[in-house]
Symmetry: C2
Subunit: 411 residues, 2 copies
């Protein structure tokens, strides 16, 4: 039922909004982002869907059929220097699946809606569109919100002629949310799988560790009299690596992404050091256990080095979000039909809009491979075969789920 | 024979040239530095010494007696934000000892010269005065030499009306060089000793380690597929700490003074990292062994992490300089007389002019305590009692050595 050429044409057309070399620069509320949203609005309308742009910038194409409706989509904004598929792929999958279901007489009575969320990539506020829809934005977050170049969210909304009032998940009865996305990692390519059915979106905690010792002369201060903040930071980083390696689940990742010493000179013992430690896992209990280990290790190293260590969260902890088992199973059945023996269940290691939708309705996600695992980069790409396999799988799962929801309701 | 009040008065007068709060700002060739040099020239002349300022800015007060002469002094320039005693103390010790010996009928026939070297603190060229005197400056070093604020050495010399031509060690017969200095470290204070007789000035090697891995997404890249340059740098730093701790001599020190990750973001695996490792020891063989260990550890970590590691020296290696045993013993005998049981033999962990003089003549150094081990800081200080004990000790050793050199010659 999927029209592969039409699907790829729409995906390539969306790419033209903000195309820059092989990549795309389409930050939320920019002129090209709003132009792309108006184009999507037109494509939804052409497909016979009720098209609208809500007050926060989300574009909806709603089936005229009554709910409970299956909502399918992703975000159409990009990173500051983004790839052409991150978000865009899932948006056009939503368009094509809702369109194909609508035009096929056998499925035309199903309620399948499409959506393009705004600002998943956090130009102003991370996952602004999906979180606003779900009622998961604290108004305080919006007050001082601004882009990295200092443009306020209020100005951006006014410039895009948006009221700031989102549509809400409670306005319509929903059967669930499905999101297709490129994997943005190397796991599918490494295992030779063609599709990934997401089990959970991992949670993440980011901590800032600050080490305060005593700055001193690197020649005249004997080792035993030092309170070297840099040395303490290095010992901490090493201990974390050892200990997390022992505790880790299969999918746990941890990263010390930044570290700084002050004053940072070859002949001066660092008086201060700072590092960021981020760890992600689909299991919230394991995240909590890791954080307890961080605190224990920091205490041990502070005691051993006479360096004071403070720990502070960098932003909100992101709790893991489990995908709905029935949606997972429907996607898995469709994946087995499209790629027998060449699909896998896997967690998502990156944040997605589906994470927040999962708080309000059953949610499921489907991954297609990323070439070389590359994402958030102009070089991001996926083969046409893989892109089409994904939309076919999503369509099959959507029909199955929408048919079931007509009877019993999935919610 | 020492006039303690006169000595302390002269030391306090030198402090007024560039006094800033409790510290001193008297960088080489600045107006206050040159004014201080002209004042020293006057004080040498008042003491009956042949006073001169050579073409590079060194100030000499030479005994009219024939050599072999004992040369005593230090540097009168300061760090950008320096303490009042670093260098200045040894300069005024030289003035007072040469003056006291000259005015005492029992010692007036001894040849004891005083000196104030220029630019030990490297505003333009490290130890410029003493190294020029010793013929240990490569002319290439001088060509592009400039201060951190971009003022060229050539302009500085011209502005100070200096020819650039130094006096030379070979112009006169020398018996040896003695330098008094504040310790600039906490060892004397920690051991309760009042004087330190220097055995050797430590050598130092500074290496820059560069780690090149693969930048990637900190969520989607599994641990086993990472080539994390930051993680390799942390493991390297930890391994160095473990291994150097096993190999170390009593006086070895090592410092990772700076470290940087690129791009340095909490959600990105560092693709590149860089750190500086400096290690110092009085034993040149041990320095060489440490460097071999650095290379071995880097190879092991590169193999284990698939991160490329390159090693490059940061500037010239500084070879350790042994002090002359006879000068050490004369200072030790005088220290035992001034502070029975409360002095120690020790290496100097910091670079001094005596390091270069040691290439050309017997050299010796005497340390007095630094309060709290603090130096290169406005808070640098030493008690009057300790300052006076140092000049008395130096005078006694100088008389002993100068008397001996009149007969046999020490060189």
């Amino acid at each position: 039922m999927i029209d592969a050429e039409r699907f790829l044409d729409d995906l390539r057309t969306l790419r033209t909004f903000g195309a820059t070399g092989t990549g795309v620069v389409r930050p939320s509320f920019s002129d090209v982002d709003m132009a792309a949203r108006r184009w999507l609005h037109g494509r939804y309308a052409d497909a016979g869907l009720d098209a609208s742009i809500d007050g926060i910038g989300n574009v909806f194409g709603r089936s005229p059929n009554p709910g409970p409706a299956l909502l399918i989509g992703s975000h159409s904004d990009t990173q500051p220097t983004g790839g052409w598929l991150d978000g865009a792929y899932g948006v056009i999958v939503g368009l094509e699946v809702a369109r194909a279901i609508r035009e096929n007489p056998d499925t035309a009575d199903l309620a399948v809606d499409a959506v393009a969320w705004v600002d998943e990539e956090s130009t102003y506020v991370s996952c602004l569109g999906s979180r606003s829809f779900c009622g998961l934005v604290d108004p305080v977050e919006l007050e001082g919100a601004a882009s990295p170049d200092g443009h306020s969210l209020a100005d951006a909304l006014a410039g895009a002629d948006l009221s700031g009032e989102p549509d809400r998940w409670s306005d319509r009865e929903y059967a669930g949310f499905l999101e297709a996305h490129i994997e943005q990692g190397p796991a599918l390519e490494a295992s030779g799988d063609l599709l990934g059915v997401v089990t959970a979106i991992v949670g993440a905690r980011t901590l800032i560790l600050r080490f305060a010792g005593q700055q001193n002369h690197a020649g005249t201060t004997p080792m035993r009299l030092r309170r070297d903040a840099g040395r303490a930071a290095i010992h901490f980083g090493h201990a974390i690596d050892q200990r997390f390696g022992e505790l880790t689940g299969d999918r746990t990742v941890w990263t010390i992404g930044d570290i700084r010493f002050e004053p940072g000179a070859s002949s001066i013992i660092p008086g201060r050091a700072e590092l960021t430690l981020q760890f992600r896992d689909p299991d919230g209990d394991l995240l909590e256990r890791f954080e307890q280990e961080v605190r224990r290790i920091a205490t041990d190293i502070a005691d051993a080095t006479a360096v004071d260590i403070t720990i502070e969260p960098d932003g909100r902890a992101i709790e893991p979000a489990a995908m709905d088992q029935r949606l997972h199973d429907a996607l898995a059945a469709a994946a087995e039909a499209e790629a027998p023996g060449h699909w896998t269940s896997m967690p998502s290691a990156a944040v997605h809009d589906a994470m927040f939708l999962a708080d309000r309705m059953p949610a499921g996600m489907l991954f297609v491979p990323s070439i070389g695992g590359i994402s958030h980069d102009f070089a991001e790409d996926t083969t046409d075969d893989d892109l089409v396999r994904g939309v076919r799988t999503m369509a099959a799962a959507a029909v199955e789920l929408a048919q079931r929801s007509m009877g019993s309701g999935l919610t």
